[in-house]
């Protein structure tokens, strides 16, 4: 057996109102990929933040390479060779990709006075090449898509010569091909003897890449198993402590005559090239495609977040002008951004403030006074229905686990009561249990007569949920598939159908 790199024992951690970790343990060997799984809020990220010096533990021992360590900060962890790709992006948008990667350990010129960006750019470029990533190291990170930012973050972690690499949901923003590249890199590191902790809610990935799985539930350790010897369903059951039945979507009946949203010939620069489609009442319309296909751009334009060069939008047969998001909301269109941290949430505010943000009018009387207690009560209902894991509606959103933050965004638009809901990667970072709840919720909404557009990079999800699937490639719609005729192969075929 390979040598043991790390042992964490009896780790205990409390936040005000939350007992996040209850005497949890974890063990990692050199040269293994070790999955850490559990529901949203199980404490995975917290455990890894303790390992990497972001948080201090209340109790417990961390033994690294046979010696007990007490980290005072992230810097020390890095120096010891313990690195992490955080779940939430942690980049400086105004700095370039290379500057971000080497922050805190800049290359200095001969005189030791000036930073040497050329060297950093060269090193970054080498790494990008090795990752098969076409990216200019001199581009400012704020100008990149979420997926690209994620790749920069990963590249940053890889650039450390570390013994332990923690990846906290690295693939949430990535598409299949980028995931393939990532897995190649992981296998390469594995051969070099690096111990890798891999956190993900995507069971197929875990089955594919990991050697062992540690399951956590409610801040406690459940079990560690060999990936080869278990069935995924068993792991899921351990995670949730009950049995989940995956139900297929009934693909409920939609009326093709009742068009609630129609867009014609949308054009915006190079990102949206002549896009037209219709959305029917009670329909879930899936949008599939590779990264950078322009799906998010189309939705942002429809929602009024970006300006269109030309094109027409019809809501329920009426031509409308949507110049700003508030117009879209007025016409009953809600949009859940893929980047919740940047566009979806006001992180410093409480759960109830976020849930009610788009609907404050509803709770405000003519004099301008807002009825806070009703908001609290309504928020509690949504916390209940979506099972958002929080001590209460007054908790600040930034203290929730990633998946639960996502649920808060969903609650916000549900409360706004929109007829047309655009979900951009709605299950990004959400655990299996919550995922099936969200699927149920989407079906339920569609049944109630709401129309849903769902962008998703997970093919099984698109296939499972949609009535119809539109596939985009390079800003154009390259295919439209009825669910009966759709398959993964078919979608990929259209998703890579480029202009000659």
């Amino acid at each position: 057996m390979k040598e043991t790199l790390l042992v964490m024992e009896g780790i205990d951690k409390s936040f005000p109102g939350v007992h996040a970790l209850d005497h949890c343990k974890f063990e990692l060997r050199a040269g293994e990929v070790h999955a850490l799984v559990g529901e949203n809020g199980a404490g995975k990220s917290t455990l890894m933040k303790i390992l990497t010096g972001v948080y201090a533990r209340d109790e417990g021992k961390v033994i690294y390479k046979g010696k007990e360590i007490n980290l005072a900060g992230t810097k020390e962890a890095q120096e010891l060779g313990i690195c992490i790709v955080h779940q939430e992006l942690n980049l400086m948008p105004h700095l370039t990709a290379a500057q971000n990667m080497f922050i805190g350990r800049e290359f200095m010129g001969k005189n030791k006075l000036f930073v040497n960006d050329n060297e950093a750019n060269k090193k970054a470029q080498e790494l990008f090449d090795a990752m098969n990533l076409r990216l200019d190291p001199k581009v400012k990170v704020g100008k990149l898509t979420v997926a690209m930012q994620q790749m920069v973050e990963i590249a940053k972690a890889l650039s450390f010569d570390s013994s332990i690499l923690v990846m906290d949901e690295p693939t949430t923003a990535l598409t299949e091909s980028e995931i393939d590249e990532l897995f190649k890199m992981i296998n390469h590191l594995k051969e070099k003897g690096v111990g890798i902790v891999y956190i993900s809610h995507r069971m197929d990935e875990i089955k594919r890449i990991t050697d062992r799985i540690t399951v956590m539930r409610d801040g406690t350790y459940v079990d560690t198993v060999n990936t080869k010897e278990v069935d995924i369903q068993q792991v899921i059951n351990m995670m949730v402590g009950r049995t989940i039945y995956e139900t297929a979507n009934e693909h409920n009946y939609t009326d093709p005559n009742e068009v609630v949203l129609e867009v014609k010939n949308l054009i915006r620069g190079k990102t949206i090239k002549d896009v037209s489609f219709k959305l029917h009442k009670g329909e879930i319309l899936g949008f599939s495609g590779l990264m950078g296909a322009g799906r998010t751009e189309v939705m942002r334009a429809i929602f009024g977040a970006d300006k269109l060069d030309s094109g027409e939008i019809y809501v329920k047969g009426q031509k409308v002008q949507i110049l700003r998001p508030e117009h879209a909301v007025k016409y009953g269109i809600g949009y859940l951004s893929e980047d919740r941290k940047r566009y979806g949430l006001t992180l410093g505010e409480t759960v109830e403030q976020n849930i009610s943000l788009a609907s404050v009018d509803k709770y405000t009387n003519k004099l301008g006074f807002t009825n806070m207690s009703t908001i609290t009560k309504t928020s509690e209902e949504y916390i209940e229905t979506l099972s958002i894991k929080t001590p209460g509606p007054k908790q600040r959103v930034k203290n929730l686990s990633g998946g639960n933050q996502q649920k808060v965004v969903i609650a916000k638009w549900l409360l706004r009561d929109c007829d047309i809901l655009i979900f951009d990667e709605p299950t990004k970072g959400i655990d299996v249990g919550a995922k099936s709840e969200i699927y149920k919720l989407l079906s339920q909404l569609a049944k109630e007569g709401k129309s849903i557009i769902m962008i998703s990079s997970e093919l099984p999800e698109v296939l499972r949920m949609s009535n119809r699937i539109i596939v985009m490639c390079e800003g154009r719609i390259t295919g439209e598939l009825d669910i009966g005729a759709a398959s993964q192969e078919e979608i990929i075929k259209y998703a890579t159908k480029r202009e000659a």
Binding site: T74, M92, G104
Partner: protein
Amino acid sequence: MANVAKSAGTAGIGTKKSMFNAANAQKFLAFGALLILLLFFSMASPFFLTFDNIVSIMLSTCVNGILALGIIFVIITGGIDLSIGTVMTFSSVMAGVMITNMGMPIWIGILVAIGTGAFCGFISGTVVSRLKLQPFIATLGVMMITKGLSLVLSGTKPIYFSDTPSFRKITTGSILTFGADGKFSVPNGIFIFLGMAILAGIILNKTKLGRYNFAIGSNEEATRLSGVNVVKWKTAIYSLCGAFAGVAGIVMAARLDSAQPALGQGYELDAIASVVIGGTSMVGGEGTILGTVIGAFIISTLTNGLKVMGVAQEWQIVITGCVLVLAVLLDTMRKRGSK
């Protein structure tokens, strides 16, 4: 797979191009505004475009400009330093105490002044970064403290440098004279300002401190998680800002040939205005030295031009305010457009 990578690559190149345009636009905007002002005033008044008047504009830019060069570092972190005006005064009073009252050599006075400025900045920086007080409040406190201390130390009376006639040469003397009998001479203060600008440019763009400066303003938490000692670097940034205020104090004192303890308050606002007119965002994360220099010139050109035209001082202030708002408005509109 290779295809995916390709599309991503082109996206990257596309953004790069637009970035260049935006950067050009920013410099062009501020520079264009300065040119328009110069043109307008030269036509409006025959006294504007004379050598003496241009020198006087440049000389009046020095103090404000050096303060602006310091505070831009703090503004890029997303912070603010309200104390620089009074820190400048405090530094010049310290120089006065050293040189005039205690009879020390001039160079010691200069070092003490810069050290005093840096120390005040260090205090602000420590309170902001280590004790996590909001920059506005922390530096407001330091502003009052230094204002009071200047008055106490000087006994509320100006300290004159009459015993050391060479002191005033620091700003008003000239190493560059030309024309018959040295008719045209460029005062040293201008060279000090330009030298400080180059120094600030190098620090901001070439050193670690500059890099972390942008990083902290861009995303402080991410910078901290990257293993950067944010507390230390933020303190250093505020200290640097204070040191610049110290230099400004010397330039100011030499120009007036005295340390004026009642002066100083209000200078910080002019400095902030210069930085903002130069296209720097108060939110942090971005900013340029060149823009700040141009911003400082715009303010002094405006003040001077209006004065030469005979506009009443009350109205000068009103117009300067309008220009400030207009400049920032134009800049944000440009930024929104380029997005």
